[in-house]
Structure formats: structure tokens, C-alpha cells
């Protein structure tokens, strides 16, 4: 496993840069609904605002996603976390780590930031209870040294929720 907190500091490859520029252009023309990305000079870290969907328990709430791209994106998945405060959700830890398979094992280079956002919104929208994962405290304690969620061996929660 590459340490993504290190690799994300490495400069993006040419392929990654080209691909991210295309994603950015596409985002500006056609952003996924419910998300706002304030474009900065930093192509390697995107901070995206998430708006809880209407009619869900997160209606009217705003959260921030931080997306860090590794050098060899999109072959390797980006690191995606919620900035503090992270939404209360059975698959989202209080340190912002998200238990969602496409961010780790099931990542495919044909996925995009847009498709990640849609998956996260759908994960939020399908939740019926505002609560932390059962193992939240233990997990967060184990991550105190700044461990990236990509170094976690995830045991994916039931994806019905």
C-alpha cells in the first residue's frame, strides 16, 4: 500500500494533470447537483461543498468534502474525507473518514470526482438515522497519528444503508 498522505504530496503526473483538468472543465460546465467546488490554483486538492438533499434527514445541512489526488491518479483512488464537522451517519466516522467501497477496493480509474460525489450523496440520502458507526471511538483512536483512510483495511458496512 502506498502511503497516500505522502503520495498526495508528490506532484501529479502528466496523465493525472490532464485528466484532472478535463474533470474540472466538465465540472464547471455540468456540476453534479448538490455540490459546489470553489476552483483554486490547487489542482491536487479539491474542497467541495455538499448540500444535504431535500426530503432527507440532512436537508438544509452543509458539509465539506476534501479530495486529495495521488500522483498516479486515476489509476489510484483519491483520498476523500469530510472536513470537520462530518455528518452524523452510520458509515462516516467522526474524524471524517468514509466507509465506502469505491473509495478503496472498488475504485476504478473510469470513475471521477463527479461519480464519487453522486455515490456519497446517495449514501447520505438513504440514511434513516443520524448516528456514528458502532466502532467509531476505537477507529478514530487508531487513526490519531494521522493515518489515511486508504491505509485502513475496510470491512464494508452493509451497503443497503
Amino acid at each position: 500500500m502506498t502511503d497516500s498522505s505522502v503520495s498526495s504530496r508528490k506532484v501529479l503526473s502528466k496523465i493525472a494533470t490532464n485528466r484532472l483538468q478535463k474533470e474540472l472543465t466538465e465540472w464547471q460546465i455540468n456540476p453534479p447537483s448538490g455540490f459546489t467546488h470553489k476552483v483554486t490554483d490547487n489542482l491536487q486538492r479539491w474542497v467541495i461543498e455538499v448540500n444535504g438533499a431535500q426530503g432527507t434527514i440532512y436537508d438544509n445541512e452543509k458539509y465539506q468534502l476534501q479530495v486529495d489526488f495521488p500522483e498516479n491518479y486515476p489509476m489510484e483512488a483519491p483520498q476523500v474525507i469530510f472536513l470537520h464537522p462530518a455528518p452524523l451517519h452510520p458509515h462516516i466516522y467522526s474524524n471524517g473518514h468514509i466507509c465506502l467501497d469505491i473509495l478503496y477496493d472498488s475504485w476504478s480509474p473510469a470513475m471521477t470526482v463527479g461519480s464519487i460525489c453522486i455515490s456519497i450523496l446517495s449514501m447520505l440520502s438513504s440514511s434513516t438515522a443520524k448516528e456514528r458507526p458502532e466502532d467509531n471511538d476505537r477507529y478514530v483512536k487508531n487513526c490519531r497519528n494521522g493515518r489515511s483512510p486508504k491505509e485502513t483495511r475496510w470491512w464494508f458496512h452493509d451497503d443497503k444503508v
Binding site: 496523465i15 490532464n18 485528466r19 478535463k22 498516479n72 489509476m75 480509474p109
Partner: protein, 586 residues
Amino acid sequence: MDSEDDMHDANDAESVDDDFYSGETAMDSDDGDAADYEFIDNDSDDSNDLVSHRSQQNYTILNETDIQLRQEDDIMKIASILSISDVAAAILLRHYNWSVSKVNDEWFADEEKVRRVVGLLEEPRPLPNAKELTCGICFEVYPCDSMSSAACGHPFCVTCWQGYISTAINDGPGCLTLRCPDPSCGAAVGKDMIVSLASHDDREKYRRYFLRSFVEDNRKTKWCPAPGCDYAVDFIVGGGTFDVTCRCSYSFCWNCTEEAHRPVDCDTVSKWIMKNSAESENMNWILANSKPCPKCKRPIEKNQGCMHITCTPPCKFEFCWLCLGAWADHGERTGGFYACNRYEAAKQEGVYDDTEKRREMAKNSLERYTHYYERWATNQSSRQKALADLQQMQSIHLEKLSDKQCQPESQLKFITEAWLQIVECRRVLKWTYAYGYYLPEHEHAKRQFFEYLQGEAESGLERLHQCAEKELQGYLNVEGPSKDFNEFRMKLAGLTSVTRNYFENLVRALENGLSDVDAHGGTSRIGGSRSLGAGSSKGRTSRSKGTSARSSGSRNIDDSVHWSCEYCTFANAKSATICQMCQQRR
């Protein structure tokens, strides 16, 4: 001990007892071939099989080529039965853990479902019909002919395919189940595509994973666990033991992949290994190869395999490495000639109070464990030493000996056999100490019976080891042929076969859970009285291997009925003038 009865039975019965041999494991019956001792009758015949040889193996050792051939063979089989490509057959076999029958069953039960699960499309779809296509990964536009796809037709450029495949291969064996990068598509990416797009290094890695999968995902095969060994073992479960000897000479248990531990079962072994690691800090001092001489207190290093240590001059005190007792005392007091296996006896004699370190170990339980662990570990290192000696023997000494003693090397096989026997016996003896540790204290009769058998086996082994190690030296370091070399041959060969018998008896008894002790109501029966047929001395048909696992000749023998052979200690009937075991004259 009333071994007299047994001796009587043994020597009266002239015929081989059939039920003694029936129902034996493959190993036992194989050894029958090796145990004819014809070389003793006939000096020119040294064609006995090696000790570890088995003719009826329930396993096959495979090298890389064998593995590859079997893998290709299975792939071809499936490809032809299901009328699919080799690539598709490989994908199916991988998915069903290389079980040809499972692939067959699943496929013919529900082909459609199987195809969906593994990502095999019935009809490959071409790339979209356009001059230019957008790559689904880099989003660049390329002419159609520089794009490729799996059977699903989802187009990606060559650079992206290469990146995708390389990332997968460097992520591990998951590359064997690679799918199309399109998240909505599960089409399998076959070996052909991967091999044609991967770099040279990645291709090698992929080939390696592919081969490894055939061994590791297959329930019938395992790698030999010896470090650096590349052989795999194909094992046919059912009947026989789990012991496997690899072509690299390492023996291991196929079931638990620990080193071979017959006659002890896998559970005991794993308990023992866990126990050892838990206690390892306390045990470190035991592993140190040096102890003070019990007489002069100078440190002594044990550099030979047998337990008989002689301190350097001027002290020259002879003592036992295990209990630090005088060697001269090893006899009646420790329960058998040379034997030093009895924890109770040692404790009563106060041996354990001797050293400071042991006094520190206040707890009885630890002391008890220490007793068994030390003997286990010492036999382990003795075995390592014997293995090294065996190798040196084969590579250097035999040639020298053949030269010195004017004997063709083919006549010196008895030495190799002796060493192979020592190596095997050290292994068995070692594990019997783990067995002894877990044998409940309250089972007095069993314990006594066990320690008796173990002591017999151990003393036989010590005699053999000493003879092979020390006496042999005398024939190596001479100017010309020794007159008594033939006597040495007979002695060593005799000790080898006697020791083999003792150990077979021990192994059998432990594998029976020492049940004979109940059946015969006491500890006096050695291996039970179920007619360990007395060997006639006539060679092949007599199967003399079953004959001598009796009491050691040095004690418990009524001299009015028996005489004990000077060479091999076998207790012979009074009427015999030649030792039935080693053919020595009385």
C-alpha cells in the same frame, strides 16, 4: 515389570503374526521392505531402501514445470469439455479454485449464472462503430484503431490499459480476476490481454501469481513450507498419515504445515508451539549451547549429537547433557541404559535443585514444562546436527572411509542408513516430549507405559547415535583397513534396526493413544502382548522388523531363559546360538 512373559511369547512364536501387519498405515508397510536386513546375512547386498523411503505415497512432489503442466492440462480439459477458449477456461478454473469438477457442475447447472458471476460474455461486443473514440479513463479522443477493450467493447486507450493492468498486477494476486475498468461492467479481462499489454516485469509477476494461484487456491496442493523451497505437494486426502517429505528433504505435516510430528497429533503440536512462544523468554537460557561441567564448573559446549558428554582434560568427567548427572549413573537409576527421559525420577533425585537458575524457577509447573521443553529442544538441535553430519558423511567421509577401509562405497550404505535412522528418531523423540507434557498426570499407568517405551527408544537411539558418531571416527582416522571393520558394520547395522524397531513400537503405541496399557492392565507389557511375532532368522519372509521391540536386553531379562546380545542388546531365546536380530554369535 514382567516382561518375561512377553519375551517368552515373542520367542516362542515362530510365525509372523498377520494381524500385526494388517491395517497398518502406508508408512509401516513400506518399511517392511526396508527392514529385511538381508545385508547382514549377505554382505554383498546393500540394496535396502533408505529409511525414509515410502513406496506407497499418497502425495506427489511437483516442481514448477509439473505445476504448469497440470495447470495447462486442467485448462485444456475445461476448454474442450465446455467448448470455450483457454482464456475463458482459465478464468473459470481460477474462480472455482482450480477444481475441474466444480467448474463442470456449476457450468452445466446454470451456465448463464456462471458467466455472469465470472464476467464471461457469450458474444463479444466490438468497439463502438466510430472513427474516433473517447477513452473512458483519460478522456482523450483517439482514432478507433488505437483503442482496445475487453469482450464488452468499452474502449480505453492503450496507455490507460497499460496503467490499469500494471496497477492491478502490482497490487497483488487480485490481478487474476481483473474486470473491465467501466464501473457498470463486470467483463473479465483475460490472460491474453494482460500478457500482451503488460511490461516484461509485470508479465513475469502475473505469470507467478497465475502459477501460485494453482497451488494456493487449490485445496489439493500446498507449497513446501521449507524456506527457499519451490516445490509444491499434491496430496490425496484419505487414509495414511499427513506426513510428507519434500524433494528438498524437509518433512512436514500436510494438514497443519508444521514440520512432521508423527506420532503426535496436529492439535498437540499447535498447543505446544503456542506454549513455547509464550514461555520463550524463560526458556532462552536453555537454548544456550553451553552449560557448566557439573564437576569442574568450566563451561562445556555440546558439539556432538548424542547426550554423552566428556569434559575436556584434565577433568574428563563424563556426564549427561540433559540432567548433568554422571554418565556412569545412567542405567537403572534413570530408568534404562542411557535413558534420561523421566521427569519424576529426575525430580526425586533432586537434580533440579542443582543450579541456581533452576532454583529461581519456583513454580512446579514451569519446572515441569522446562523438563519437557529442554528435551524437546535438545532433540531438535541433535537432529539438526545429525542432518549436517549425514550430509558431511555423504559428501566427504564415505569416500575417505571407502579408501581407508578398502570397501566399495556401495558397501557403506549401512552408515547412511544409520544416520537417516538417527535423524528420523530424533524427530520422533522430540515430539514424544510434547506428547509427554500433555499426557495427564493422573493417568499413572499410561504415563509409566509411555515413559517406559520412550526410555527404551531413547536409550536405543543414544547407543546408535554414539556408535555412528564416535566409534565411526576410529575407522576414519586410521592408516590402513581395520580388522574389526566388519564387526563395526554388524554392530551399527544391528543398532540401526533395533532402534528402528523401538521407535516403531513407540510411534504405534502413541498413535493408539497408549490403549494397550488398558487392554493389558498394566505397564509391564511392552508394546502389548499382541504377538510382535518373533523373527525367524531366515530373512525376507520373517519381517523381522516386528520382532525386537521388546525390553532392552540390558535388564529385566531372566537369564535362565534369555541371553542378551552384546552388540544389539536383543534378548534372544536361550536355545539360539546366533542373535536373531543381528546374527552375531553368542
